[in-house]
Every structure is written in structure tokens, then in C-alpha cells.
Symmetry: C2
Subunit: 128 residues, 2 copies
């Protein structure tokens, strides 16, 4: 549990940067070399490698070196774990909305039943 929490800390921290989110988006479409990944960014390679390192530490990305080329690929489990967290929160939020809606419907029904039992203003006027 502690590990999972700590991984969520690292995954969210990794995704709090637009360059790292762009790398994850690119890797969702398939593996790529560090050179290909760095190409769209006007950034020195050492700075770019720091982003890759943060992504690897978070568990979002894995990389492998073959000769002079380092290839990166997505580890979808870390991404799915973070998405799960959002789904859990939404379930709690939606359950609360459902309870609130049920409460409003109950109030509305009670009001209608009370109104039905009460003689209408016209009926009271006729009786007087």
C-alpha cells in the first residue's frame, strides 16, 4: 500500500510537467529512441535526459540501450494505476450526488403527498 502511494506521488509529480506529459503521449503511440523523443523540444540533451530519468523513476517509462541508441517504451500499468485513482474518486463523488438526488426526490414526494392531503384553496372557499 505504502509503495503504491509512493508510486502515485511519483507518477503525479512526473506528469506535472508539459514536456514529460508530451513524452508519455508520444510513447502511447509506440516506442521511440531518446533522439526521436527529444527532437520536438528545443532542449539540451542532458536536460531532456533528466525528464526521461524522472519518468523512469516513476515507473511510467522503461528504456533499454542497444549500441548507441536508447529506446524508450511506456509502462502502461503506472498510467492505469493513476487513472484508477481518478475513477475511485469519481465513484465516491457520483455516489454522493446519487444520495443527494434521492434525498431531493424524497422531499419532493413528501411535499406532494402533504399537498394532496390538504384541502385545496378552492375547496376550502366552497366549504366556508
Amino acid at each position: 500500500m505504502a509503495n503504491k502511494l509512493s508510486q502515485l506521488d511519483q507518477v503525479f509529480a512526473a506528469l506535472a510537467d508539459p514536456t514529460r506529459r508530451a513524452i508519455v503521449m508520444r510513447l502511447c503511440a509506440g516506442e521511440a529512441s531518446v533522439g526521436e523523443l527529444a527532437d520536438p523540444f528545443a532542449m539540451a540533451l542532458p536536460s531532456f535526459m533528466k525528464h526521461i530519468h524522472v519518468l523512469e523513476t516513476s515507473g511510467l517509462v522503461q528504456s533499454e540501450k542497444s549500441g548507441r541508441v536508447r529506446t524508450c517504451r511506456l509502462s502502461p500499468d503506472a498510467l492505469l494505476g493513476a487513472e484508477d485513482w481518478f475513477q475511485q474518486q469519481r465513484a465516491i463523488w457520483e455516489a454522493r450526488l446519487d444520495r443527494f438526488e434521492a434525498y431531493v426526490m424524497k422531499l419532493k414526494k413528501e411535499k406532494e403527498q402533504a399537498a394532496a392531503k390538504r384541502p385545496s384553496r378552492t375547496a376550502r372557499k366552497k366549504g366556508s
Copy 2:
């Protein structure tokens, strides 16, 4: 777009902390005062208020002061925006898997068709 990106930066940075995630989880179940929110944490109030401030800046939480009580509530749009980001990445990832599966099926079919055209080893032996 730039604002949305910047909000995602702030939302993910806000969620990269277990205390702040716990506050969001609690607020999914309904609004609460700062005192109620702080209660489960062994933390000085000024430190706790810093977490509330980060959550407010990210747009995940809104708060309102009435007398001496500050009440916090969730702003679900910021949470849904971040969940959307994950869903978009998953869609790209799943589309890639679908293409890969279609490619493997195509290869398999071509192999089967080639095997059907080739005379079998037994037939060749009988013919020789």
C-alpha cells in the same frame, strides 16, 4: 490551451502529495471545514493550510469563510479534466494495440493461405 496545460501542471503537482490526495478524497464525499479536514493529520495548522492553498491554486478545491469557519468543497471540473487526460492517452494506447492485433491477424492469415497453397509434406512424398 496554455491555461489548460498550466492547470494540468498544477492539478498533477497538487495530487503528487498523499495529504492533498487524502483531502480530495474526503471532499469527494462532501464539503468539510478546514478543522474537520485537518483532524486526521498530525500536522500544525499553518502547514495544513499550505496544502489547502496548493489545492485551491490548482482549481481542485474552493473554500469560503463564514465567521471563524472556513468550509472547503471540491471543484469537480479540475478532477474531471485530469481524468480526461488519462482517457485520451489510453485511447491512443488502445488504438495502437488494435492496430498491432490487426497486423498480427493479417500475418497469421497470410501464413495460413500460403500453407494451404503449398502441397503438404505427405502429398509431396507420395508424388515423388
